[in-house]
Symmetry: C2
Subunit: 113 residues, 2 copies
């Protein structure tokens, strides 16, 4: 069942959860610590994120490990693409950014808050 992608990201607590998941597979308890709300709330947010396709779950003993799925991000990117003309005159600027990235490969792994 595909709940709305944008609405899933509309809630700041859910975004915090998603951002926490960038570090990789995470159990619910750890997400509760970061979220700042009750465990039951986190559980429900995870359900919403799951319905929207943002996360997948894997049981590990009594825990459940959540991780990010690429699809909705790709979807979002595709939606956004229609608006790139608003701020991007030339493809070459993007190409330049890529080129820079290519030269320093270790730039964006699990950083940022």
């Amino acid at each position: 069942m595909h709940i709305d992608t944008f609405q899933a990201l509309a809630d700041p607590t859910r975004r915090r959860i998603v951002e926490a998941l960038r570090r990789g597979e995470t159990e619910v308890g750890a997400l509760v610590d970061q979220a700042g709300i009750h465990q039951s709330g986190v559980s429900r947010h995870l359900r919403i994120l799951n319905d929207a396709g943002f996360v997948s779950v894997r049981p590990d003993g009594q825990r459940r490990l959540y991780s990010l799925r690429p699809e909705p991000f790709r979807e979002l990117d595709a939606w956004l693409a229609a608006y790139r003309g608003l701020w991007e005159r030339r493809f070459d600027r993007f190409a330049a950014a890529l080129e820079k990235r290519r030269q320093s490969p270790n730039t964006q792994r699990g950083r940022r808050t």
Copy 2:
């Protein structure tokens, strides 16, 4: 006043309005036709989009012409960038294509508008 970017996009009617605005400056009446809700509702959605930085207004006689602003889209793109690693394979293929393009003298460079 900067209202939340994601929340502004969470409402489907607002997204319809934004998508309609891709065609360029539009008066409120035309947006009402597309939105399928009452004029007052559209007006309020436009206020929200304006507060979130998505649109700017320009008076034209008794009408008000709304148009898209690039900033929040850029913002969204920046947020999304942190998740590009999730579907990097496709990304790299695209990068390779761009690289090829860059090396070929056939490319249309310097097409500034």
